[in-house]
Amino acid sequence: MFFKLRNREVAKKTKNAEYCLLRCKDGVSVKKKQFAVIGLGTFGYNVALELVRKNIQVLGIDSDNGIVNRISNFITQALVVDATDEKAVEDAGVADCDGVIISIGESIETSILATLIVKELGVKNVIVKSSSRWHSKVAAKLGANTIVYPELEMAKKLVDTIVAPNILEQIKLSKDYNLVEVIAPKEVWGKTIRSSDIRNNYGINIIAIRKQIPIINESHNSIDIKEEINMLPGPDDEINQNDVLIVIGSEKALAKLKKIEDN
């Protein structure tokens, strides 16, 4: 009870403080982006720190006093608040935030209640970290704008790296098209983009080539590698043995590329 009362006072003070506004050189006030992170477990804690690194003001909320104390020096404001207490969440200033990330993993019920409260407070951008398919469904019904399921996403990514180790990164662009980082297949080593005829042979477009350039690291007097990216490579640019190609292609075309590597 003590913490709740104390934090309501802090929250009120915070709302009135200059915390929300930055003053530019010309005297015009510019609102800095603000996000609240409710639930400061491993995921929420790291999200909060990353947001601060990206110059976003962060209000962190958790019911655990120890976690709040630990993060308080690194984020804009950290409060001990029960996420299922509507008044306490409102007093904390959550409604003023541009977005709220609800990352309560240990209790689906608490996460769902917090989602409902935040939506009823009128927050436009609510992101919920889900911990199961049902959790995702309920959060969607409550109006969550984005639902992330990191365990499932990581599991898929991990399997992709096991099944196709030559595919280093994969981003889904649409239902059928992906952006992929792939180790240059043997067939095109030493060829230019034009002579490899990669677009016709594989049905993919190269948008960048990542190269590892051998160098001498002066500070250690040892060999090292420096990464260089050739953005928008031209038809006469050569593809070498250790290059990584960043390509766009259909699932079908990329599957063909994976098969070539398997053989």
Binding site: I183, Q212, P214, I215, I216, N217, H220, S222, I223, D224, I225, N240, Q241, N242, V244
Partner: protein, 95 residues
């Protein structure tokens, strides 16, 4: 006589290392690895040779082999910081 032999061995080790570096800088990775392996034949406790082979494997996207070489370098020289950093990066641990 013994001292002179030791000097010769050290000098041979050094020249293979330098030749390996030269090949690496000229993108001749197979030749570079071969030179660093010659160093290890002379001195199996040469951590730099393991590191150099690891780096070549890493730049060739042969990540498992690179990890193996970095681990061997660290087994010989546990305080080899650049190797520790590279291995951590490959395993997925941020420094």
């Amino acid at each position: 006589m013994k001292e002179e032999n030791a000097k010769n061995v050290a000098s041979k080790e050094l020249s293979h290392i330098e030749l390996g570096k030269f090949y690496f800088l000229n993108n001749k990775y197979d030749e570079a690895v071969s030179e660093f392996r010659k160093v290890l034949e002379i001195n199996p406790a040469n951590a730099e040779a393991y590191y150099n082979i690891g780096l070549i494997k890493e730049s060739s996207n042969l990540i498992d082999e690179a990890k193996e070489m970095y681990s061997r370098a660290l087994a010989v020289k546990p305080d080899y910081e650049i190797v520790r950093n590279r291995l951590n990066k490959l395993i997925g641990i941020e420094n």
